[in-house]
């Protein structure tokens, strides 16, 4: 197993999202206030990481998350627009390290969230076979 040849540090992507009711802590079950849920911010950050390397991956390979460190510094109400940027900063074998930062989409100089995410490149079919194998052992 190795990462695709074209994958290199510096790969980046930015997602622009508007917070909806479905993104709130109330909806996610992670709290009881109608603002962007921390697990939703994590999911968006992971999506930005996936987008950052999407054009460099081959169809048989995918990446899966293995670790995350996340700061959620400011609340975002429903309707707020965010830019979530992720950049691949390190490749260590099949392990990929990304940094992400979430800012208001209006360009205000604020940090809504930031952190470091780790993913590993895996063969899609073999990974799913292993996951199925683990389920059968638990049965």
């Amino acid at each position: 197993m190795s990462v695709p040849d074209g994958l290199a540090t510096g790969a980046r992507a930015t997602l622009r999202v508007a917070v909806t009711e479905a993104d709130t802590a109330q909806a996610a079950g992670s709290g009881d206030v109608p603002v962007l849920a921390t697990p939703r911010l994590l999911a968006l950050a992971e999506a930005a990481c996936v987008a950052a390397i999407a054009t460099r991956m081959t169809p048989s390979l995918t990446s899966v998350g293995i670790a995350a460190r996340l700061e959620h510094r400011q609340a975002s109400p429903v309707g707020a627009e965010l830019d979530i940027e992720a950049e691949l900063t390190e490749i260590d074998g099949v392990r990929l390290v990304f940094v992400f930062i979430a800012r208001p989409a209006d360009g205000a100089d604020q940090v809504i969230g930031a952190g470091t995410l780790e993913r590993v490149v895996v063969d899609r079919e073999r990974f799913l076979a292993r996951a199925e194998g683990a389920r059968h052992r638990l049965d």
């Binding site: 197993m1 293995i66 392990r95 590993v120 895996v122 073999r126 292993r130």
Partner: protein, 70 residues
Amino acid sequence: MTEVRAEMVANVWKVVASAGDTVADGDTLVILESMKMEIPVLAEAAGTVSTLAVAEGDVVQEGDLIAVID
């Protein structure tokens, strides 16, 4: 005699070799899974696998014996 030991905590995903097999240096003995990755455990010497100490589904700790090659 060469002892092959686990270098990390992991699940045993596939047992590739069997006791009695003749292996070359670098042959895959078992495949571990840790942090969602497959980690092949290779024979560190040529010889005969005299002991294969793990089964699929086992959890190994760092330093646990996986196989002995004579």
